[in-house]
Every structure is written in structure tokens, then in C-alpha cells.
């Protein structure tokens, strides 16, 4: 029997990361979709960086930044009592950065694809920007929100490099399933590695399939 803890930790990490990402990405994507500020291309680039950067690079810099022996990490440790390296909090922080484009991009293009007149119509009807965002814009980009949520969740499950760099492999704290697989293979425990791998494969396949079914309209007839 395999140890279920790494899998549970993986899903806990993916859930927390996805929820935080949703809260952060809606305003960020809104700003990216509608802003005309000059700084926008730079922010867009930064958001997209995790798509092309080796995860180890991000992990390395986070490790350096958050190390209590360095200025920023020391400040965090001393004043706020937060230690982000080799902790679950650090994993969440790194995962949020690493999966950011997977949440921001779908939501941003969702906003951009809406007719600008819909927003204007709501303003002319006397509704504030906040009311317009929650009552008009977000309900009309549900497929984009679902895509963002699922891609971020699945992408966080698949994390390896960043997690290993900043979290290491502390059982019950930072040893997630992808790291566990690596360790089982290193100690020639192919059966356990296979069990973890199968679970991850099945779960990610299922949730991606669900997105395509929902966004493709195949499930409409069942939930109406």
C-alpha cells in the first residue's frame, strides 16, 4: 500500500493555489484587458514568464530571496515570523507565481472578447464598475473562468522543479506526489511510483476532459 500523504498534499496545494489565483487574477486580468497604460506590456511579459522560464530558475530565485540569511527573507522571518522556504506557505507562494499565466490568460481573453458596448450599456444604466464586473462581465465569461480554474489546478498538480527547489521533500509538509514519484524511482520502488503516477494521470485526464465537455456544450442537455 502506498503512502497517501503526498497525494493529499498535492491536492491541498492545488486547491489553495487555485483559490488564491482566482482572487488575484480577476482584477489583474481586468486591468490587462482594459488598461491602456504604457507599463502594460511589461506586466504582461512578467505574467507570461513562467510559461517559458525553467521552473528551477524561478525556484532558485525564490530560494535565494526567502532564505532567512538574506535581507528580504530575514526581514520576513524577523518581523512577520514567516519562513517561506521548506514550508507549505512557500510552496503556495511559488505555485501561485508559477501558475499565474494559466489563470490570467483565459480570463483576460474572456474579458477582451466581450463586446465593449456591454460594459458601456451597464455604465449608461447607472451601474458602477464593481456592479458591472460582478453582474455583467464575470457571468458572461464563465467558460473562461472554468478554463482558468482547471488549468491552474492541473498545472499545480504537475509542478516539480519549483516545488523541489523551494520546498525540498519534507514528508507531510512539502513532499508532494510529483516529488514522491521521483524519490520512489530513485530507490527503485517502481510499484509505488507507478501507483502515484496512475492517480495523477487519471485525475488530470478527468478534469481536463470535464473542461472540454462543459465548454464544448456536451453536458448542456444534462444540467438544464
Amino acid at each position: 500500500m502506498i503512502d497517501w500523504q503526498p497525494l493529499l498534499l498535492t491536492f491541498k496545494l492545488a486547491s489553495v493555489t487555485t483559490i488564491l489565483l482566482l482572487v488575484i487574477s480577476v482584477p489583474l486580468a481586468y486591468w490587462l484587458a482594459y488598461s491602456t497604460k504604457r507599463i502594460k506590456p511589461i506586466i504582461e511579459t512578467l505574467v507570461s514568464m513562467p510559461l517559458v522560464l525553467p521552473p528551477t530558475v524561478l525556484g532558485f530565485y525564490l530560494l535565494v530571496a526567502f532564505s532567512p540569511s538574506n535581507a528580504f527573507g530575514g526581514w520576513l522571518d524577523h518581523w512577520l515570523g514567516i519562513r517561506l522556504i521548506f514550508s507549505f506557505g512557500g510552496l503556495v507562494f511559488a505555485s501561485v507565481l508559477y501558475s499565474l499565466p494559466f489563470m490570467v490568460h483565459p480570463i483576460q481573453s474572456g474579458f477582451s472578447n466581450l463586446s465593449a458596448n456591454i460594459t458601456d450599456a451597464s455604465y449608461v444604466l447607472g451601474k458602477s464598475k464593481i456592479t458591472t464586473l460582478f453582474k455583467v462581465l464575470l457571468p458572461n465569461i464563465k467558460p473562461a473562468l472554468l478554463t482558468g480554474i482547471v488549468l491552474s489546478f492541473a498545472h499545480t498538480i504537475g509542478e516539480f522543479g519549483v516545488v523541489l527547489m523551494i520546498g525540498g521533500s519534507i514528508p507531510g509538509k512539502t513532499k508532494v506526489a510529483s516529488v514522491a514519484i521521483y524519490e520512489e524511482v530513485e530507490s527503485l520502488n517502481y510499484d509505488a511510483a507507478n501507483a502515484y503516477s496512475l492517480v495523477l494521470f487519471a485525475v488530470t485526464f478527468s478534469i481536463l476532459l470535464l473542461v472540454y465537455l462543459v465548454n464544448g456544450g456536451y453536458l448542456k442537455k444534462f444540467w438544464k
Binding site: 463586446s115 458596448n117 458601456d120 455604465y123 449608461v124 444604466l125 447607472g126 458602477s128 455583467v136 458572461n140
Partner: protein, 293 residues
């Protein structure tokens, strides 16, 4: 009757039109309860004017006052937001909220503490009863337009603005919707500003027309004064489009959905060519009169 100036508008803005930079510079007053049309080629700045009145676009310089209340005065730094200007606006693509049913679209428009009664009243006037629980995507163009018109009137605005609202509808539908627009214009004593390039529509509905070209008003007056050069006093007038000119003596004209042949003199035909819009005036010299059974 006393003339009451309802809206006074003066706007200047540098626009990036298709043909390059263009200075929009207009200045006019609209009387209470009038139906006015802004007419001109695409790219003349018509929609920009509506958007500036609504507060969706900021002019470089300008002043807008409505019932002596100042909506915009760039010299004094006053600029009401679109939310603060009470305006009815019907967009060219209707801009209905796809996630809401017809009745939800209307209810969304209600102000806080406004009575819900107006919703059923508008549903009656616009004959939307059977469509109330449908989503916009399932409605035809004409039906969507009626919903958009009803939604624009929920807050009981004094000013209604229509941005080419009928341009994507077929002719039968258009004429029905023109009737709806005139009905609410009168019923709610609205001051209505229409942007259009359909001449028949303007003649049918407007009291006053502004012809816009390259950002400036080049002609204004009653539809007749603006649209035809000489004034003809005739009881029956229709607008048509020339399809063909036959043998230099007959014009084939599309009026509504019908093609009719109209005899014309050489002098009349000389300046015309296919595609021109013409005003056909009929004096009742020898009318044929028949009783309708």
C-alpha cells in the same frame, strides 16, 4: 408654443478617423421633446458625438448642459460620469446582457428604490410579454432591438439616444420598429437623438436634421430642407433608390420592398445615376379615387 432649450452641446475633439486625423467641432441646441437626427457618412463622427453626450468618451474641449444642469464643462473641470447622466442609449449591436433573460435585462436597469411597475409597463408597450423569460441569443434582431429600447427607458431618462439602431434589420422590421420608437418618443415626452444614414427613416421620424461631414455640421434644418435642394410642396412624398435608368426616360426605383417604374424627363434624369437616393413628390392633380371594400 414656447421653445424650451433642453440640451445645449458644444464639443471639440481630435479624432483618428480612417482617412487620418479629423477635428470634430460641433455646436448645437436641441429643444425639449424634439426628435433630431444626426446624419452623415460613416467616419463623419456621428457615434463619437453620442458617446460624448453619454459620457463614454471625453472631448478635448466642450460643454454640455441639459435642463440648465451642467454635464460637462472642460473649462471648469466638470465632467459627470455616464452613471450620473440619466440617459437612454440604444447601441448599434443592442448590447443586451447575454447572461440575463429579457425581464432580467430590464430589471437590472432599475435604479435603487425605483418602483418595479415600469418594467411591466414597458413590456406591454413594446409587446415583449411572450419573450420575457427568453435569453437574448434566442431572439431575432428586431426582438432584441425592442428589448434594448425598453431597457433604455427603464430609468425614465429625458434623453434617448439611438446609434443606428435599425441598420441591421430588414425593411419590414425596420418600419415596425420606427413605429415603436415614435410611440415611446411621444408617450414619454422624450428628447430623442438618432444617428442614421437611412434617408427614409429620417424623413419619417425627425423634426430636425443635422448633416455631418468631416466632423462638422454642414447643413441643418427640417428633413426637406436638408435632404433635397429645392422645396416642393406636395402632399405625397416617398424616398427611393434608383436601381436602373431605362432608355433615358424611365427610372426603376426601389421604394421599400417594391420596385416601381417612374417616367422622368431628360433634364430630371441627367444628374442621376443608379444607386442615387431620390425624393419622389406627387401632386394630386388627377388622382384616381377608389373606395376600399
Amino acid at each position: 408654443m414656447k421653445k424650451v432649450t433642453h440640451i445645449s452641446i458644444s464639443l471639440q475633439k481630435q479624432l483618428n478617423a480612417a482617412a487620418g486625423k479629423m477635428l470634430l467641432n460641433i455646436d448645437f441646441n436641441i429643444e425639449q421633446g424634439k426628435f433630431i437626427t444626426i446624419y452623415g457618412n460613416s467616419g463623419a463622427g456621428k457615434t463619437s458625438i453620442l458617446r460624448m453626450i453619454a459620457g463614454l468618451l471625453t472631448p478635448d474641449k466642450g460643454r454640455i448642459s441639459v435642463n440648465d444642469k451642467i454635464w460637462l464643462d472642460t473649462a471648469k473641470g466638470i465632467r459627470l460620469t455616464p452613471q450620473q447622466r440619466k440617459i437612454g442609449f440604444v447601441f448599434q449591436d443592442y448590447a443586451l446582457f447575454p447572461n440575463m433573460t429579457v425581464v432580467e435585462n430590464l430589471t437590472f436597469a432599475l435604479d435603487k428604490e425605483q418602483e418595479v411597475k415600469i418594467i411591466s409597463e414597458l413590456i406591454d408597450i413594446m409587446e415583449l410579454g411572450e419573450l420575457a423569460d427568453k435569453k437574448p441569443a434566442t431572439l431575432s434582431g428586431g426582438q432584441q432591438q425592442r428589448v434594448a429600447l425598453a431597457r433604455a427607458l427603464v430609468r425614465k431618462p429625458g434623453v434617448l439616444m439611438l446609434d443606428e439602431p435599425l441598420s441591421s434589420l430588414d425593411i419590414d422590421m425596420r418600419s415596425k420598429l420606427q413605429d415603436y420608437i415614435m410611440k415611446v418618443h411621444r408617450a414619454y415626452n422624450l428628447t430623442t437623438i438618432l444617428v442614421s444614414h437611412d434617408i427614409g427613416e429620417m424623413i419619417k421620424m425627425s423634426d430636425y436634421i443635422y448633416r455631418l461631414s468631416n466632423g462638422k455640421i454642414i447643413k441643418q434644418g427640417s428633413p426637406q430642407e436638408v435632404l433635397v435642394n429645392s422645396h416642393v410642396n406636395a402632399p405625397i412624398q416617398v424616398v427611393g433608390e434608383i436601381i436602373a435608368i431605362e432608355n433615358q426616360e424611365t427610372l426603376q426605383v426601389l421604394v421599400g420592398t417594391k420596385v416601381i417604374d417612374i417616367p422622368a424627363s431628360k433634364e430630371e434624369i441627367q444628374p442621376l445615376s443608379a444607386g442615387n437616393k431620390i425624393l419622389i413628390s406627387q401632386k394630386l392633380a388627377n388622382p384616381i379615387i377608389q373606395k376600399i371594400i
